[in-house]
Amino acid sequence: MPDVAAVSESAAMPARSAAPIIRVDGITLRFGGVTALADVSFEIGASEIHAIIGPNGAGKSCTLNCLNGFNLPQQGRLFLREQEITGFAPHRIARLGVGRTFQGLQLFAGLSVVDNLLTGRHLHMKTGALEGFIYRGWAHAEELRERRRVEEIIDFLEIKNIRHKLVGSLSYGLRKRVDLGRALAMDPKVLLMDEPMAGMNLEEKEDIVRFVIDIREALDIPIVIVEHDMHVVMDIADRITVLDWGHVIARGNPQAIKSDPTVIKAYLGAEVRR
């Protein structure tokens, strides 16, 4: 996180480049007889906030899981900056720069906040088991160097006072913040967020929204966000992809989505007037 504050204060809107960071090309994912995703395609451009919305069971989390490598689609291909990542193991995809926050609480409960964030630095660290065993020179120096990096994120997320607490003892909102910090520690090239605001109160939601916008401006990375809170989505998303029963039923900017009859039907069950 180099100089998050400094960059966000300059408020420079990042320049958009034409090449997509992520390209999802016609993926179909089935579990037995259930088709979770049917021929889903979309692109995520550089430094855009892209929301994926849809009713429950629409396939939003499945889409993220495919991008992460947890689910292997039966058909279709996934690209990260022109490199095909279909079928890669999740840790390989992480190595290529895909960071992710989770639905619910998926932290390492037995580690402190600092150590949770340091696990996010795992990819960028090199100390092996033998150097760890010896713990002299290199291993120690690397720990201190990465600690400094992690402290920048702690600063940014305003969690200084809890850095040594076990995450198991923290409130829900703070834990979600640590989850975000752990993903940021990976220095991601693209950030996937799965329902970052579910179960939060208004203040906690406002904090997360502020962080999301700051991250985009400071790091100039695209953020893919799955979220149910429509006010938030309409406010912060540049583009929206709407899923229903595994199909993409609409895509476009918030204004277009708000008035799209198929979206209204999917959400409200209203008949489409012709």
């Binding site: 998926q106 932290l107 390492f108 696990t119 795992h122 713990y135 720990e143 752990r182």
Partner: protein
């Protein structure tokens, strides 16, 4: 964790130090001094007990890394120990290699054997993994009794000469005690280093949430196998030391029974903490020694009970102790100690 009053870290290095206050240094120095001077303070029995505790500690530390820290249940630690003992023993007996070579090679042999069983951990978890590692125990015993007699001596086992360094032979209780102490100190230091570096955090990440670990780029398969590799390496070193201590290696010395006791030591001490492994080993080992002292005395007082009954009852008491811990303090003595320390430091406030 609250720090003692007035102690503040001013650098990240200070914030990571294991020993933070002058009093902690003093206690640590006193502890080291007692360990070093033990043969002079209490010659005889105490040294023998301390030697066995030292060897057991190395094996339990290994189990702590595999099971307590990385969360991979292992009921075959004593078989891994046996592999180390046999490997070191065979090299010493047949090829007359120095213990400086045979002990590390014993460790590596056990580590490879352990890692093979660790491969199973990718697919299976918990109870089923425990059963798989129990299989290691039986494969080990079977192999040692069936492999050619020229290698491991089958049921006769291996008889060994003492470890020799130049013209100095580790052939008395005191001498072997210092050898074990040196190894135990090294392995403890190493375990602490491992757990506060990248590898240790990856272990805990895999234990607490393997999906999230995978997503942030930790190769879960690699770290599960590595956890078995390192844990079994510790067992192998312990086994090799055991071989040099009793100077006789035989498959019956490394039973499933022993593996279960090691798990019991972890539970009493505290899962996932290096200090817990030390406390658990010392407490259970001392209680076991106490039984061998008190048992005969009870038999003398009440001859009608019979020696068999007394020993069985004492073992049941020890087993009962572990059950009590599982129910009332599953996080072990170290956790209880931390609570006491914390409430002392923040007194008179409750939290």
């Amino acid at each position: 964790m609250t720090l003692p009053g007035g102690v503040h870290a001013e650098t990240y290095a200070q914030d990571r130090a294991l020993i933070r206050t002058p009093w902690q240094w003093l206690w640590f120095a006193a502890f080291v001094a007692v360990l070093l001077l033990l043969p002079f303070l209490r010659p005889g029995g105490a040294v023998g007990i301390a030697t066995v505790i030292g060897i057991t500690l190395i094996a339990v530390l290994g189990l702590q890394l595999t099971s307590g820290c990385a969360g991979q249940i292992n009921m075959g630690q004593s078989a891994f120990m046996g592999v180390g003992a046999y490997a070191a023993g065979a090299l010493a007996v047949h090829l007359h290699w120095s213990f400086l070579m045979t002990i590390p090679i014993g460790g590596i042999s056990a580590a490879v054997f352990g890692a093979v069983f660790g491969l199973a951990a990718l697919r299976i978890k918990g109870f089923y993994l425990a059963l798989t590692t129990i299989a290691a125990q039986y494969i080990f015993t079977f192999a040692m009794l069936k492999l050619p007699k020229e290698w491991f001596g089958q049921s006769e086992g291996l008889r060994m000469d003492p470890a020799v360094l130049g013209s100095f032979a580790f052939d008395t209780d005191n001498r072997i005690y210092y050898l074990v102490l040196a190894f135990a100190a090294l392995m403890t230091y190493g375990a602490w280093g491992l757990m506060r570096s990248r590898t240790g955090r990856a272990f805990i990440a895999v234990r607490d949430n393997d999906n999230a670990a995978e997503v942030i780029g930790i190769n879960v398969f690699y770290y599960k196998t590595l956890a078995f590799f390192i844990g079994a390496f510790y067992a192998g070193v312990a086994g090799a030391l055991w071989a040099y201590y009793v100077r006789y290696v035989q498959a019956d010395q490394f039973t499933l029974w022993l593996s279960v006791w090691y798990v019991g030591m972890l539970i009493v001490g505290g899962m996932g903490s290096i200090l817990g492994a030390i406390v658990g080993t010392v407490v259970i080992r001392l209680l076991q020694e106490l039984i061998t002292v008190v048992g005969p005395q009870i038999t003398d007082l009440l001859p009608t009970l019979g020696g068999q009954f007394v020993f069985a009852a004492m073992n049941m008491l020890l087993g009962g102790l572990i059950i009590v811990f599982v129910i009332f303090e599953p996080r072990g003595l170290v956790h209880r100690w931390n609570i006491v320390k914390e409430s002392y430091r923040i007194w008179p406030f409750p939290h």
